[in-house]
């Protein structure tokens, strides 16, 4: 068993860290205050290939593996959570779902431009009345010839106002035999007639990001844009979360690290009672806990990433990684504020932003309460993973890094 990261992973980590630290970190405080997304974030992440990091080269991506995706998310969130949110919805929810469930035609039409960063994708499942209870969502998709007509409103959608298309789940059968059977998923062109989007302001955190709503009035979507089979939407949505919440887990590890680094720097500088506060034991205890939680969060997401590389189903491992890391990041941020004293309460230092950002991750991509239920299900033997019609393909470096004329990666 080899716990070391190879030269490829180290170079990836270094590159993403340099980009985020050099180009985004200096002005992030200002954008967070403005409650707006810095305009260079999406274009630069696209240009540098970060938006397509883990897709095969012959699908427009960079051919790196799932661990590279995790490491990139860690480095991005160490600067600001909103950078990682981009990865969660564009790569995680939308892109990886296309990789897992898309037909060749759909991959060519949607995944390739998404991987190249030419188009932006997002995931649209939540509604004002349906968050944790996904099966209860009310947006409808009525068949009309070979098309579907969509009506309804999605809420709490990251990049709603910035994305070109959304992986969106809607109700296609108003009276299914089982509640979870009546849903279908679509790639909805957000520039279509009948689609309006807008941003939500006044959030506690991820203020330098873009969270909004998507409203649809008689939006026509061709059947070719339906992802997976008619009625398969619930399974597709759940699989999407396995991808999205992996990025959240990895990012939260980065957030713990940011809290740790800020606390160590401050504790070594600030003096009370004649010595740097790093000498005081209660401060040391906080820092030790952060260091430990970072290590644990990292190990959990690396294992989940490794399972993804192997093509092994990893729902419970990803759930565990996400829940642990996000809970721990909130705790770390709160303690980092304590280390900073009153200065932690001011936006002069980043730790108050870390706390506000951390709280959101405990709610989205499955509330941490839901994650307890998921894990209990597995632990009690009530829940097992059934094989899916389409599984996420395993990572194979030669195939994924091979240039354009290789056969497409379409799993069984």
């Amino acid at each position: 068993m080899d716990f070391s990261l190879g030269p490829e992973h180290e170079l990836v980590q270094k590159m993403v860290r340099e980009f985020a630290q050099k180009e985004i970190a200096p002005s992030i405080q200002e954008w967070d205050r403005k409650q707006e997304m810095a305009p260079q974030v999406l274009p630069r992440m696209g240009e540098l290939g970060i938006l397509g990091i883990c897709f095969p080269v012959n699908l427009g991506g960079q051919g790196m593996d799932f661990i590279s995706l995790g490491l990139a998310c860690e480095e991005l969130e160490a600067v600001d959570t909103t950078l990682r949110v981009v990865m969660s919805v564009h790569v995680g929810l939308c892109g990886l779902s296309l990789l897992q469930w898309g037909t060749e035609a759909q991959q060519a039409e949607f995944l390739v431009p998404l991987a190249r960063g030419e188009k932006i994708g997002c995931g649209a499942f939540s509604e004002s009345g349906a968050g944790s209870d996904v099966a209860n969502l009310q947006t409808t998709a009525k068949q009309d010839g070979s098309d579907y007509i969509l009506n309804g409103e999605k809420m709490w959608i990251s990049l709603a106002s910035k994305a070109d298309f959304a992986l969106l789940t809607a109700r296609t059968d108003p009276n299914p035999k089982r509640r979870s059977q009546g849903l279908s998923s679509f790639i909805v062109d957000l520039h279509s007639k009948g689609v309006t989007t807008g941003d939500l302001k006044g959030k506690l955190g991820v203020r330098a990001g873009s969270t909004g709503w998507i409203s649809m009035q008689d939006v026509r979507v061709p059947a070719a844009s339906r992802l997976g089979e008619h009625g398969e939407g619930f399974k597709i949505t759940m699989s999407a979360f396995d991808s999205g919440r992996y990025t959240v887990a990895a990012g939260a590890a980065g957030l713990i690290r940011a809290c740790l680094e800020a606390s160590v720097a401050y504790a070594n500088g600030r003096k009370t009672f004649g010595q740097p506060i790093a000498e005081h034991q209660l401060v040391q205890a906080k820092i030790a806990r952060m260091a430990s939680d970072y290590e644990i969060a990292k190990l959990l997401f690396l294992k989940a990433g490794w399972l993804k590389n192997q093509g092994v189903r990893n729902t419970v491992e990803t759930s565990r990684a996400k829940q642990f890391a996000t809970d721990a990041s909130f705790h770390a941020a709160s303690e980092a504020i304590a280390v900073h004293g009153s200065y932690g309460y001011s936006d002069e230092f980043p730790v108050e932003r870390y706390l506000r950002n951390a709280r959101g991750a405990m709610i989205y991509e499955g509330t941490n309460e839901i994650h307890s239920l998921i894990q209990a299900g597995y632990a009690l033997g009530n829940r097992t993973d059934k094989a899916l019609r389409r599984e996420m393909p395993a990572y194979e470096s030669t195939r994924w890094q091979a240039e354009l004329d290789s056969p497409p990666i379409v799993s069984r």
Binding site: Q29, Y343, S346, E348
Partner: protein, 342 residues
């Protein structure tokens, strides 16, 4: 014998060239110290070398030496050094002389010790002390067996001898076998604009105290208190800017000053502004709240000017002036202009 290469630009030698001559004279310990002057129309420079202590000057005055070209000068200087039999050759550390010394070292098959801040004789060799790792550490460096020893001397490390017209010395003109130069200097351009905050070796920074000048009367058309405050602050920052200019440094500001609208965000030093690491940081009217300190605490030397003797910044400063910056700054600018001859 000690030779000292007198670097110059257009016949004017920088102070560090004379500092090198001074360092050479000390090392020579009474034995001969000669200057080398190369260029076109540089006799006056040779005369100045004598007045500053050179026992003699080797002068190579040649049309082909009009523009400094390292390969041509190296051809000439290597020849001069060989002919002279000097055991030690000093250079000032300048853009030209460092490179020249490097090329000559290859020609003579010897070592080159750049940027010495201290020179000591030990058992017939010169032990130099020079900075490494951007000055975080110092190393002793010695050339035990290879001769001559070549060293460049860092500016402001040795005193420059004052010119004394009473001194006498022989100026020997030499003809050099220079060959055809291959490179051509086609012109000059002024360097880029002002000093960037992130790179500046000297930063003069202003805080909220810069606006605190009740005696200064704003123009009548500014009626609101806020407008008057900002006007006073901008006048104050003009002083900060002037001091920075005299010192060849950049202008910084505390977050408080930026938030109050006194100066644009680009100048902000501190946690959310730029983190700077200059050799000299002069904090004017800055109290020293921790977030500002976080941005500038790695400055090598901090000078604080503040009317409050208990301001926290004095705990971090090496030099402090307690007083009204609106009086201190003009006085400082005047004194510097005088002393630095600007």
């Amino acid at each position: 014998m000690v030779l000292v290469y007198i670097d110059h630009f257009g016949g004017t030698a920088p102070t560090v060239a004379w500092e090198a001559l001074g360092a050479g004279a000390r090392l020579a310990e009474g034995s001969e110290i000669k200057a080398v002057v190369m260029g076109q129309g540089v006799e006056a420079l040779a005369g100045e070398a004598v007045s500053r202590g050179a026992h003699g000057v080797v002068l190579a005055d040649d049309d082909r030496l009009k523009e400094f070209r390292p390969e041509v000068y190296a051809d000439g200087l290597s020849e001069i050094i060989r002919q002279s039999g000097a055991a030690t050759v000093l250079f000032p550390t300048t853009s030209r002389a460092r490179e020249l010394a490097a090329l000559v070292a290859v020609d003579l098959g010897t070592g080159i010790t750049p940027d010495a801040i201290q020179l000591d004789r030990q058992n017939g060799a010169i032990v130099a002390t020079r900075p490494i790792y951007a000055g975080k550490l110092l190393t002793k460096e010695v050339n035990l067996a290879h001769r001559p020893q070549l060293l460049t001397v860092r500016s402001r490390s040795f005193p420059a001898p004052e010119p004394d017209p009473a001194r006498a010395g022989e100026i020997t003109r030499v003809e050099l076998d220079l060959g055809q130069p291959r490179t051509e200097v086609t012109g000059y351009k002024p360097s880029g604009g002002g000093v960037s905050l992130a790179d500046a070796a000297i930063i003069v920074s202003g805080g909220r105290g810069v606006a605190n000048n009740p005696g200064l009367q704003p123009p009548a058309e500014l009626t609101s208190e806020k407008e008057q405050e900002i006007w006073r602050a901008r006048e104050g920052f003009k002083l900060v800017g002037e001091l920075a200019q005299v010192l060849g440094g950049a202008v910084g500001a505390s977050r408080a000053a930026v938030d109050a609208g006194y100066i644009p965000y680009a100048h902000q030093v501190g946690q959310t502004g730029k983190v700077v690491s200059p050799d000299l940081y002069i904090a004017c009217g800055i109290s020293g709240a921790i977030q500002h300190l976080a941005g500038m605490r790695t400055a090598k030397t901090i000078v604080a000017i503040n009317r409050d003797p208990d301001a926290p910044i004095f705990k971090l400063a090496r030099f402090g002036v307690v007083g009204d910056l609106h009086q201190i700054l003009p006085a400082l600018i005047g004194a510097l202009r005088q002393r630095l001859g600007k």
